[in-house]
């Protein structure tokens, strides 16, 4: 019986798509767990270094680090963290939308903008969107290591040190929970002096060898750790978003299959009814 051959083949093709999306959902779920664990592992370092930098900022040394210096804004730099791969819902799109809104403000003030992109999607986006991309790093993989980022971050830090850019922002997705990822834009440089409760006491470090050498290295580590954390957090967001997107895709495929099955059954039923009525009317005619 040739009834609904097209419908049947369509159903089987959607079924195989559904198999792929549900497999991707499960893969994303397990990767998300790993990425989330990694996010937790990187937190102690970021906290410790923030404490140390906070102490140093509160301590009165003769040496004022250039990263603390507030300058009049003529050019700003953005480090944009995106994913390497697609199929993760509106994650990158929402991030870029937030970024563009931010950029519009600077454009109104006549401020130049430079970008540093991490991840394939951001690189691709700026290829279309235009913009001065000074550094790129792609293919960070599922377990990015901190030393892979050093070069790209250094480009931006050097630009800040020699006055090419006057402010540096980090753009990434914040992992609120599995269901929610919020795009965020944070200022990295110049450092905003943070007042901690601990800054009240008035002891200072012995600096070995001297405050300048130490602070130079420490500040770079601090920014690197912030960016690294951003990358790891974005990775967790990517997996969570992909998991949600694939879950939705699997559910939708199920709905379409149900609908098509209904259409197919009706067509089959109609064909059978028609055949019977033909036979009956044929028999009656004899």
């Amino acid at each position: 019986m040739a009834v609904g051959k097209e419908i049947r083949s369509q159903i089987s093709s959607i079924k195989s798509t559904q198999k792929i999306t549900s497999a991707m959902e499960m893969v994303a779920a397990s990767k998300m767990r790993k990425a989330h664990d990694q996010m937790d592992l990187t937190r102690p370092y970021a906290e410790k270094i923030r404490n140390v930098v906070g102490h140093v900022a509160a301590a009165d040394t003769d040496y004022e680090h250039p990263y603390m210096e507030q300058r009049e804004v003529q050019t700003v730099g953005y480090i944009v963290v995106s994913t390497d791969r697609g199929l993760c819902g509106g994650l990158n799109h929402n991030l870029f939308k937030t970024l563009i809104r931010d950029l519009a403000q600077w454009r109104d003030q006549g401020v130049d903008v430079q970008f540093c992109t991490l991840g394939q999607k951001a690189t691709g986006f700026f290829k279309n969107f235009g913009g001065n991309v000074v550094a790129t790093k792609t293919q960070l993989g599922d377990r990015p290591s901190a030393d892979e980022l050093i070069g790209t971050i250094k480009v931006m830090l050097d630009a800040f040190s020699d006055g090419t850019i006057d402010r540096l922002y980090l753009v990434n997705n914040e992992f609120v929970n599995t269901m929610t990822q919020e795009p965020q834009v944070r200022q990295l440089l110049p450092l905003k002096p943070e007042k901690t409760q601990e800054s009240a006491h008035n002891w200072d470090y012995i600096y070995e060898p001297g405050p300048k050498e130490l602070l130079d290295g420490l500040m770079v580590r601090y920014i690197e750790s912030q960016v690294y954390q951003g990358v790891v957090e974005n990775l967790a967001c990517e997996q969570a978003a992909r998991m949600l997107a694939m879950k939705a895709a699997t559910d939708n495929a199920g709905d379409i299959i149900d609908d098509l099955q209904l259409v197919y059954n009706k067509a089959r039923q109609a064909a059978i009814t028609q055949e019977i009525s033909e036979i009956v009317s044929g028999a009656a005619a004899v």
Binding site: Q38, L41, T42, P44, Y45, K48, I49, N51, V52, H55, V56, S145, A146, D147, W203, D204, Y205, I206, Y207, E208, P209, E213, L214, G217, L218, R221, E224, S225, Y228
Partner: protein, 140 residues
């Protein structure tokens, strides 16, 4: 009961050690140094090399760091390691190989090589070897 101080060793990628210790010894940029409870607040850079943790009970632990910072607060010692691995995990052959590679790069004058980087590689490989030798000596 020996006096102890709380010590954390963290790297950008993970938390490596956390607990009460009686002494921390590390290779600072200005020379090897040991920190005991009651040390004055201090901030110093670390060279690639071993960080040794002495605890009140149990054997010493040695971690390898490839640079970083040592911070001493009145009741707290923090080692901010650049990349720290458990010294026991390290493969001596790989360190030897890295050293050879770095030496070859240094020797190879013809190609365009960043000598500063090669030298850093060499220093790192030597430090790793030193750590492994220390661990071996202890194991015997």
């Amino acid at each position: 009961m020996a006096k102890t101080v709380y010590c954390d060793i963290v790297s950008a990628e993970e938390k490596i050690f956390s607990g009460e210790v009686t002494m921390v010894s590390a290779a600072a940029t200005t020379g090897d140094l040991g920190v005991m409870p009651g040390h004055a607040p201090m901030l110093t850079g670390l060279q690639p090399g071993p960080v040794r943790i002495t605890r009140a009970e149990g054997p010493d632990e040695i971690y390898y760091v490839s640079g970083g910072y040592l911070e001493v607060q009145p009741n707290h010692i923090t080692v901010l390691a650049d990349t720290a691995l458990r010294a026991g995990d390290m493969d001596e052959a790989a360190a030897e190989q890295a050293r050879k590679d770095a030496e070859r790069e240094l020797a190879d004058q013809s190609s365009e090589i960043d000598y500063g980087r090669a030298q850093a590689h060499l220093a790192e490989a030597m430090a790793q070897l030193r750590t492994i030798q220390k661990i071996r000596k202890k194991a015997r």
